[in-house]
């Protein structure tokens, strides 16, 4: 009997000991539960109750993460399930920030607010997805990885399909659900194979040893399948087909959230994977991660940027551009030891800001002049001068032209890859550099489509629906200022970055 339960108190104390480090997550759970209750009782009389509760929850979580600061657990918690480190803290802060901005977007989105079922549930689902994402950035056990990925995916299927106001939104949600389900199933199968070969679920030394003495063909298959699962979240090349359709179909606030939140969580997961496989295995005898990711990065940049050139729908174009940026960030992953770490973090933060701002403005214009396509933007520059000036600066930052944060991000990534090239003189880093430069020029084509139509062309004076979402533009303005400030004084961010 005791053999099965050797030390209940020990295990129990190990479990409860870890709780102390999970305060932010607990805050989120509390907010979720509170939100559900409030939605039942108070949402008739006071519509924004749940929103405030969610915002409060996120605020508390962020504050707790910051308050924890550097009191971090030395070793993994809950028997090697979770390892909260300074990296995951940075990621968590980004998630909370993105979620708060999502709330701002939802507050001002007319379509959401007038929704029959009210937006209470949406905020609760948001909290769950944020919880899932923070676990994704901390989990070092394959079970935990799968659990958190599923939590985020299922949550985001619901968010995409939440309104289903028209056929396109429904279609987007079904596509997202089916594609996501299949990919997570593939990942699950990959994990099962890894479990089969190594007998352990902990991402660590044992797993790497196990994979090494298994014939390289089978270990490569297992890892490729898992990578496909992670790829779904990151939407890099072979697994990117879903993102343009879903981004275009989903309501704009949800698209904004999807393109930043889960994607960055995917990066966190990939980082954890690479850390284990790089650190543990000196050489990568059985699976060459560096080359794989380089090729993926090049392919992603090419596909993302070149197909964006054709797009007319703004959200679809921004979808492809986010694929392009994914490729760029992957470039940072390849040269982690040459400053790629800090470059990748910096770029991720600036990417989140840029994308959020871009979608905010796209949403604002969509509501005020219900223009969705670039040609539809013709002549709007004169009617919304402030909005479009901010839009231009954000797009410049997305392209990576100086005085903006985007340029510094690209510069850092370029110099880290150049460092990698200088060290190894391999062909791939050089190919990545040149692709990066060329795709930057290509990205100018489609990013400039918006200001060209808005300012240079004169459109018919369509009716403008007057709604009270001026604050949206001012938040976008704030983000723009941050982008410019970071562009000129990058120390603002890099000082706080780890690694």
């Amino acid at each position: 009997m005791d053999q099965q339960f050797p030390d209940i108190t020990g295990t129990f104390s190990a479990v409860t000991g870890g709780i102390r480090y999970l305060m932010p997550e607990i805050a989120l759970v509390a907010a979720f539960l509170l939100g559900v209750i409030i939605d039942l009782f108070f949402s008739r009389r006071f519509r924004h109750a749940v929103l405030i509760c969610a915002a409060a929850g996120l605020g508390a979580a962020a504050w707790l993460t910051l308050a924890a600061g550097d009191d971090l657990p030395a070793d993994p918690l809950f028997y090697g399930m979770i390892f909260s480190s300074v990296f995951s803290n940075v990621f968590k802060l980004v998630f909370y920030g993105v979620a708060l901005l999502f709330l701002v977007l939802c507050f001002f989105n007319r379509q959401l607010q007038q929704h029959a079922k009210g937006t209470g549930d949406l905020y609760n689902i948001l909290l769950v997805v944020v919880l899932g994402m923070s676990f994704m950035s901390m989990s070092i056990n394959l079970l935990m990885v799968y659990l958190s990925v599923e939590m985020v995916s299922v949550g985001s299927y619901l968010m995409v399909g939440y309104i289903s106001g028209n056929s396109r939104q429904a279609e987007a949600s079904i596509k997202y659900a089916l594609f996501g389900g299949a990919c997570s199933a593939i990942m699950l199968y990959g994990i099962s194979l890894i479990y089969a070969f190594t007998g352990t679920l902990d991402l660590g030394e044992i797993m790497v040893r196990g994979l090494e003495n298994v014939p390289s063909l089978s270990s490569a298959t297992a890892i490729t399948l898992v990578l496909a699962g992670i790829g779904f979240k990151l939407s890099f090349v072979p697994v990117h087909f879903w993102s343009p359709d879903v981004y275009e179909g989903a309501p704009t606030p949800v698209t904004a959230f999807l393109s930043t939140g889960p994607k960055i969580a995917g990066f966190a997961l990939l980082l954890i994977f690479l850390m284990t496989f790089f650190v543990a295995a000196e050489g990568h005898r059985f699976f060459d991660f560096k080359n794989t990711i380089s090729v993926i990065a090049i392919m992603t940049m090419v596909v993302g940027n070149f197909s964006a050139v054709w797009q007319d729908n703004i959200k679809r174009m921004l979808a492809y551009s986010s694929i392009g940026h994914t490729g760029f960030i992957l470039m940072g992953f390849v040269s982690l030891d040459h400053g790629g770490f800090r470059a990748m973090f910096f770029y991720v933060i600036v990417y989140a800001l840029m994308n959020m701002a871009a979608f905010m403005l796209a949403d604002y214009v969509e509501q005020r002049a219900n223009a969705v396509t670039a040609t539809g933007y013709a002549g709007l520059g004169k009617r919304f001068p402030l909005a479009f000036t901010i839009f231009v600066v954000v797009l410049i930052s997305l392209t990576g032209i100086p005085p903006t944060g985007g340029f510094i991000g690209k510069l850092l990534i370029f110099s880290s890859v150049w460092g990698q090239y200088r060290a190894t003189h391999a062909l791939l880093p050089l190919a990545m550099l040149i692709t990066g430069a060329v795709t930057t020029v290509i990205s100018l084509f489609y990013y400039l489509k918006i200001p060209l139509n808005a300012w240079l062309r004169s459109g018919d004076t369509a009716v403008t629906i007057t709604t009270k979402n001026g604050l949206l533009v001012y938040t976008a303005f704030a983000i723009m200022l941050i982008l410019l400030a970071v562009g000129i004084f990058p120390q603002l961010i890099t000082a706080y970055l780890p690694g």
Partner: protein, 531 residues
């Protein structure tokens, strides 16, 4: 407060003021802009006066004047090195004349912006941003800062041409943007490469500082661009590939013949003030870039390719002049004449002799004043009758005598009549080119004579235009309404034109005013490039 920073950023402040002012004060914007440019003119005169001509300072930091060096970005990029970029503004003989030229040209451009009517706020804000960017380019001594200002120049011009331009403005604007961006993206790669190859002697970190890039001692041996590392990049020795890429990037701005096709489109479609700035300053950025970056950082490559650069110069002179001869649109004619005049600059620089480079510098300054005056005069007609076809006007001298006087001054000055600055510039560029065969054997003698044919051709097309448009019996294709419209130059226009003509005359009679200022720097440059 250091003079240069004020000079560079005062227009930016004015631009912000314009942005902040409510739309109701629309007519006040141009006065704010005017005040900013006048302040700039005063400051650059102050700089001119306090400039000490005996300090060369091309490649040693101590003799650079008005230097201002603050550490700006300290990123430890992990791994071995810290990204060290410092805010380093300074001027020497090579960049100092351009400050006065830029502020004067900006003053004239703002004066000619009275004709702009649609959304003034955007216009003047962009204009001030452009002014800051251009001033920054001329004063930046840190490659990163230089690249930042260089890129910053593109956007305002794209929007200024795109939104206030002529019929095919979109095509011209994006064409300009793409040409320059194409050049500058690869410049970014070279810059990063240089950054990794150069070490700051004091702190040991990598640096973007141009002065350190100039002396080979600072290169990490074995690094990509080290002098004797013989590293190959795509099969070509790295340093010469870097020189070619940088030269192409700046040549697009000069412009040289194969890459000049954006100039006529951009000038024809741009509104007058923008084409004034385009011709007056932006072409000089190309020339300045070649001297400051290509020639100082890669001197041996410069010597290697001198023959080719000289050839390109001569071809530009003759090709530009012949094209100008065939033009029917006055503005396009002036644009092609700019291509031809800038050919002299290239020829002068390629000769790497004191006379050649001083001639090239003088040509850039004199062309700055003269092309601005020409574009302003074309603008005067265009604002009155919205037509620039040479064939549509005959005998304007009776209708607009004062205007004809200014046109004749501008035409004769730009065809190199002695007494005006263009003659001194072209004569010494050619003499320098001719002398280089004997002194350092870089340029064959026939190139100098080929260049002098350009002087003849410029006389041909300018006088032909003068004769067709201004002399003979009065016959306007627009008939009577045009006769009423074509009033003579107004006071405001004269305020803009007189200083330009005066400067051209002053530099023609007393070239020493410029030459003494730039002489030591030119000698240092020649010693640096051709020890």
């Amino acid at each position: 407060m250091n003079l240069l920073s004020v000079l560079v950023f005062s227009p930016l402040v004015a631009g912000l003021i314009v942005l902040v002012l409510p739309a109701s004060l629309q007519s006040r914007y141009k006065y704010v802009a005017l005040a900013a440019t006048i302040l700039q003119v005063l400051l650059s005169v102050l700089v001119w006066v306090r400039f000490n001509p005996s300090l060369g300072g091309v490649n040693n930091e101590h003799t650079l004047q008005f230097a201002e060096k603050l550490s700006w970005i300290q990123l430890n990029v992990g791994g071995d090195s810290r990204l060290q970029i410092d805010y380093f503004l300074a001027i020497d003989g090579l960049s100092m004349p351009f400050l006065l030229l830029t502020s004067l040209v900006m003053f004239v451009a703002v004066l000619s912006s009275w004709e702009i009517t649609t959304n003034l706020k955007g216009y003047f804000a962009l204009f001030m941003l452009l002014d800051t960017a251009v001033m920054g380019v001329f004063t930046a001594m840190d490659f990163f800062l230089f690249y930042l200002f260089y890129e910053l120049m593109l956007l305002p011009i794209y929007f200024l041409i795109g939104m206030w331009g002529g019929v095919k403005r979109e095509y011209a604007a994006i064409k300009f943007f793409l040409y320059t961006l194409f050049g500058s993206v690869f410049m970014l790669l070279i810059m990063v490469g240089l950054y990794f190859s150069v070490q700051d002697p004091l702190t040991g970190d990598h640096t973007f500082n141009m002065v350190h890039m100039m002396n080979p001692a600072n290169y990490v041996d074995g690094s990509l661009f080290a002098k004797f590392s013989g590293q190959l990049l795509l099969g070509i020795p790295a340093r010469s590939l870097a020189f070619i890429v940088l030269f192409v990037a700046f040549a697009i701005k000069v412009p040289i013949v194969p890459l000049h096709t954006w100039l006529p489109d951009a000038h024809v479609e741009a509104p007058t003030p923008v084409s004034i700035v385009l011709a007056g300053i932006l072409l000089k950025v190309g020339g300045y870039g070649v001297i400051r970056i290509c020639y100082s950082i890669f001197p041996e490559a410069a010597l290697g390719y001198a023959w080719w650069i000289g050839l390109i110069g001569v071809v530009s002179i003759i090709y530009g002049a012949l094209n100008a001869l065939a033009q029917r649109d006055l503005k396009r004619l002036v644009a092609y004449s700019s291509v031809s005049h800038m050919g002299f600059v290239l020829l002068g620089i390629a000769s790497v002799t004191a006379e050649g480079i001083s001639g090239a510098m003088m040509q850039m300054i004199s062309h700055g004043f003269l092309s601005v005056m020409l574009f302003f005069l074309v603008g005067v007609i265009y604002t009155r009758v919205h037509d620039r076809e040479i064939a549509n006007f005959r005998g304007l001298s009776q209708l607009m005598p004062q205007y004809t006087f200014f046109i004749m001054v501008a035409f004769f000055a730009s065809l190199g009549l002695p007494g005006f600055s263009a003659f001194i510039a072209e004569a010494f560029s050619l003499t320098g080119a001719f002398k280089s065969a004997g002194v350092n054997g870089l340029i064959p003698r026939w190139m100098a004579l080929g260049g002098s044919v350009g002087i003849l051709l410029s006389a041909a097309y300018l006088l032909w235009t003068l004769q067709r448009m201004f002399f003979g019996q009065l016959r306007l294709s627009g008939g009577e309404p045009w006769r009423l419209l074509l009033t003579d130059v107004t006071i405001r226009e004269k305020i803009a034109l007189v200083p330009l003509a005066a400067m051209a005359l002053l530099l023609g009679i007393l070239p020493g005013v410029v030459f003494t200022q730039i002489n030591t720097s030119v000698l240092d440059l020649v010693k640096l490039v051709n020890p």
